[in-house]
Subunit: 468 residues, 2 copies
Amino acid sequence: MADGGTLKRNDEGIETALGILKQQFGERLQTGDSVREQHGHTTTWIENQWPDGVVFAQSTQEVSEIVKVCAAHRVPIIAFGTGTSLEGHVNAPIGGISIDLTQMDKVLEVNAGDLDCRVQPGVTREALNTYLRDQGLFFPIDPGANASLGGMAATRASGTNAVRYGTMKDNVLSLEAVMADGRIIRTASRARKSSAGYDLTRLLVGSEGTLGIITEITLRLQGIPEAISAARCSFPSVKAASETVMAVIQYGLPVARIELLDAQMVGAVNRYSKLDLPETPLLLLEFHGSDAGVVEQAETFGALAEENGGTGYEATATLEERNKLWQARHDAYWAMLQIRPGCTAVATDVCVPISRLADAVEAAEAKATEMGLQAPTVGHAGDGNFHATVLVDRDNADEMARAAKFVSWLNDLAISMEGTCTGEHGIGQGKRPYLVKELGAETIDVMGAIKRALDPDNIMNPGKILPA
Amino acid sequence: MADGGTLKRNDEGIETALGILKQQFGERLQTGDSVREQHGHTTTWIENQWPDGVVFAQSTQEVSEIVKVCAAHRVPIIAFGTGTSLEGHVNAPIGGISIDLTQMDKVLEVNAGDLDCRVQPGVTREALNTYLRDQGLFFPIDPGANASLGGMAATRASGTNAVRYGTMKDNVLSLEAVMADGRIIRTASRARKSSAGYDLTRLLVGSEGTLGIITEITLRLQGIPEAISAARCSFPSVKAASETVMAVIQYGLPVARIELLDAQMVGAVNRYSKLDLPETPLLLLEFHGSDAGVVEQAETFGALAEENGGTGYEATATLEERNKLWQARHDAYWAMLQIRPGCTAVATDVCVPISRLADAVEAAEAKATEMGLQAPTVGHAGDGNFHATVLVDRDNADEMARAAKFVSWLNDLAISMEGTCTGEHGIGQGKRPYLVKELGAETIDVMGAIKRALDPDNIMNPGKILPA
């Protein structure tokens, strides 16, 4: 599923480029197996495809120089942040040069008065938040993994609090990027809003390294709220939980997080985190606001939940209780893997209109059971985005085939419900056929025209997003 | 300033296209002077440039057919909504066909459970809000004029409540558009978030009709808040008012609107709306939330204002009082024109980081005075966007020249402050040189490459955004 399709490897160009880069970067070009493996490593079932070399860039100017060398010799370029993507984004299906951006990890500027900052792409979200804490500021996007901000921008990441703070598309003010010919551009000013020409910021956000390499990011920040509280509530069914979520959204309750765990996932979390939550669908919530505001939000939520059959509702403003609750959510991935020790997780990432969330989750649960698969589910319910993760034994070919069939079925289901095959992970390699199904051949043609205009030799992360 | 530059008029093609369109559309193709004048009419100082004919389209299929005829004969196509743009967007510098979309005015679908709807481009924001009211929903973007939603999307419009609800880029979920070859595309699913490929939605939002014609818009909606209240507060200086705005933003107070009027504008409003506000800088606010929430917001704002020298603070939750206050704001444009009856307004639209707002507004006031110009100012202060509007006598060449110089100076000032020459009006014709200054030639080259890839014959609204 992750081969290069009709892409062709350019051995001669790669060899020449490696020679030039070796001269320019010395020890900062590495071609050893372990480094190459790490940079073509996927955390999922997608097979690893190593680059031919890895350059550790330290400045925008260096990225530009590397791209110029690769452009001159038609060599693929793959940007690398932390390698936490789930769709084979850093794979090198026809080889090429991985540009490792982890050494570009400086916070360049924080403008507290404007609630913005400018960072290099290798800064991780946790590093940024540590840096900001003393100033009473935070960057809200939380995809779970401690991803680099460049990678998060490139995949249009989001996560648990997108329902309140949006996704990377909403929180990037401007980008600096190196284009396929090595030119350096800045996409926008630092103004909070703008009508100045084509929105190149949003075109690059989510372009998965296929149009340019992000070398600086200007981000919107938030003030740390006066008060944060958390809550949990159990429901007799996914439908009851989803109807509560719809009521919350329609009411306009500004929940910061509203996460759904299905019964199977709650069981896994209980065992892993030593909790005794009722093993029925669960909503976990977080409220941000003033002291009085979070109390009011929690009360309003409680009333909406009760109307929809919620039970065992508990709200807490103490840091310890809140951390315990959310730690359980953050550990859900590891908890789930313990259902079947040694298994591999096959990620899914569909997102549907919220009114279809219950139908989609329940259908996925039934389908998995019917296919003899285990697929516990967590969902960013306020966005209609959920992850039914299939637990498989990689060495069991039959099970792998069923898992692949399940993923395909689920993507098709979401598309049939006016949803998307990817709410936040991106298209990468495996989802390319679903992108066509979702948006139609004419829309993909338009994307292809843009790609060809900006990268005529298809050297920027080839084999991703667009059909090969 | 609004000529076609190096663009060339294609008389033969236009004549042929008009003949074909007459056959296809009969009376719905109009070529009379009054209709042409209306469709090439600008509300500003930019000279009018008429199209050669106007077709009143009634469906996406018809728009596609018109575009195919124009594409075959290389004839310019200009989409027309309500004609309220301020930067010459509907002008036809080298003639061509205006596609009037006002008859495509249906609300096609409202999904109350998902807080979204799908509309044709000719639906105006007021018509949509009237349609939605019974369902307890509203569409928040309010640029002042009763613009069409297609036009608002095309110019990335925003207005008074962008500080809370964002701009059109944040509130369009998906678009259907007719591209330069007549193909119809849909840019995204109806999911609330997506990582599915290039963000063509955001590429078309703000593209001012130069990449495609928007034929359907899927919009995010909001529930009408439980409570709305309004407030006003006077300040000794623009600086004091701006510092209050910064405190509000940093605090994270979710104000729905926070508008700045300078002393001159307050004077104009007093006379026009028969009010007796102190003639010093004024902030007008609106709070949306629960009953208790808006009271708390108003109190918090009052405290922040007082710390910054605010006086005469009044908050009100009664509908009548609130309407009176906001009516004064909405009438500011007419009030301002009455400062000098018969004058023409020269709009400006710079947006700067909020920490520079006071500097920018005060410098603009001083510069206008120095140049012997009157330029009362209103600002969407929470975004750093303000409109210093120069009042001129069109027949006074010297004054017109000074006004042009002022506008140029102000755009340059905003750019020097890391801001933009346009927060919400768009680039259109007159601001093209500033777009280059703002983002640099390399960035504009990338925009040009996209334009050429999607519209190789430059028939979609030629002479707008990009240098001719």
